[in-house]
């Protein structure tokens, strides 16, 4: 893969994005590109706004400044109907799975098909079983979400995300809280679905090892800025202390272990205050 990502062959292009929540600046004038057909990972410590970036790409949040274009369309200039038409071509895998708890596995996967197509039930059944087969859960079609393990929930959510054959899937922390087997299954699924379905994938994760194994390109975010970018190899070899702290899991570094606070001794000595 070419190390430099040009905006011409990118499916998603983020330009000069700034976003704040209250007084806290989440993104400060960042630009990113996500190439078609590739797996791009957004990594960084917790609280750096990785999930927020996915919500901005999906049009669920509005930036303070800057533009986000998906397949040539400026997401935040679209009317509601146009945005919904764009979202039909996107799949999103939420960290929690976000399965509808009053429906079983089959109905969850069938949900977008029933909402957006007028296909007969026999056709929907076939499609749903194909999607469930792809994630290895065809036999679990009658189970309710509360009967699924965390890994199974995410696989069902993945089957639902590909139900409408999207052009791109956004993965929000797909590996968090997974046992090694579920993790391996998810890593394999993301990689194989991306290549067999010709998808573009954006993975938000702080799981360094597994994400590096499947990503074609990685952005490392911290403190509202891009502190590193490149192929997994380039990121591993980066001499940026921000990137190195993240990749090696060092407790202290540019990202401080302690949340900003006043002097420790002064704090302990100030009696009479509750907090």
């Amino acid at each position: 893969m070419d190390n430099s990502v040009s905006s011409q062959d990118s499916l998603v292009s983020v330009r000069n994005l700034s976003f704040s929540r209250g007084n806290q600046k989440i993104f400060d004038n960042i630009s990113l590109d996500f190439q078609r057909g590739k797996i791009t990972a957004i990594m960084g410590p917790s609280g750096t706004g990785k999930t927020t970036l996915l919500k901005l790409i999906g049009g669920q949040l509005f930036p303070d400044k800057g533009t986000i274009t998906v397949d040539g369309q400026n997401v935040h200039n679209l009317r509601r109907t146009e945005l919904y038409n764009l979202r039909k071509r996107l799949g999103m895998l939420f960290q929690s799975g976000a399965l509808l708890t009053d429906m079983n596995v089959f109905d969850n996967v069938a949900f977008p098909l029933r909402e957006h197509t007028h296909l007969p039930e026999s056709m929907i059944r076939t499609l749903v079983l194909m999607k469930l087969q792809a994630v290895g859960l065809r036999g679990a079609r009658k189970l309710m979400p509360n009967e699924l393990s965390g890994g199974m929930s995410r696989r069902v959510a993945l089957a639902r995300a590909i139900a409408l054959d999207p052009m791109m899937i956004l993965y929000d922390e797909p590996f968090t809280g997974q046992d090694p087997i579920s993790m391996g299954v998810l890593v394999h699924l993301i990689k194989s679905l991306n290549s067999t379905l010709g998808l573009t994938s954006i993975i938000v994760s702080h799981d360094v090892h597994d994400t590096s194994a499947i990503a074609d390109y990685i952005y490392v975010l911290s403190g509202g800025k891009i502190v590193g970018e490149g192929t997994p190899k380039e990121i591993q070899e980066s001499d940026s202390e921000w990137v190195q702290q993240f990749m090696t899991g060092a407790a202290d570094g540019p990202v401080h272990f302690h949340y900003p606070a006043k002097d420790y001794v002064d704090d302990l000595m100030s009696s009479g205050k509750r907090y």
């Binding site: 919500k55 999906g58 669920q60 919904y84 038409n85 979202r87 039909k88 996107l90 999103m92 939420f94 960290q95 929690s96 976000a98 399965l99 509808l100 708890t101 949900f111 977008p112 909402e115 957006h116 639902r160």
Partner: protein, 260 residues
Amino acid sequence: MIQFIQNLGRNTCISFNKLGRSTYFLLQTMSGMFSVLGRPRLLLNQMYSVGVLSFLIITISGLFVGMVLGLQGFYTLSDFGAEETLGVMVAASLVRELGPVVSALLFAGRAGSALTAEIGLMKATEQLSGMEMMAVDPIKRIITPRFLAGLISMPILAALFSAVGIIGGQMIGCGLLGVDEGAYWSQMQANIDFQDDIINGVIKSIVFGFVTSWIALFEGYDAIPTSEGVSRATTRTVVNSAFSILGLDFILTALMFGDN
């Protein structure tokens, strides 16, 4: 003093902000009505969980309220030798006031709190965000069917409450205390007016159903997506619904019966 004025200003701004958001939410909800009418199964499912599942609490409560009315009414009316009018007293109390008001309070406690908790938890577990990302409008798909179900179910439940209450009053008045059964029913038939009593009661219950469903759904949709946030939202639903029902009951009663 400055602190007091600051707090007053802040709370006023918060209240108006919430009022604005809830009004916008209501308009969005109502704009989805036509699409829901085109999908009757969604509405029927919600009428089952909002209305049919409230059937038992409404029926039992109506029966006991009617029995108490029969008992209290008999002792009061018999002091004046007017126990034959027990049927009118029971029916008028139920149809005009107790039916719509008590059933709405029960509805808020049973169905309203369930709606808030359900929507709040859907928000907390990202189900609503998930729908948005699947290009499905959660207002049209989730909120509007529940709102319509509450609006339709409330008058039916209030009518059921009144009907069962009247039977409860008859069981005690006629069955236990010896009021003539013919007098009980004929006095009721002669003195309960369709327009003044029954229709006005139905109007009240529609208004209560509208307000209770609106409050319950908005509180759930607006809840902070944490367990504490959902818990607080559920409490607010019951408290705000009760205040709204009782306040509106006074206003509606004054408008409907004020010039009699």
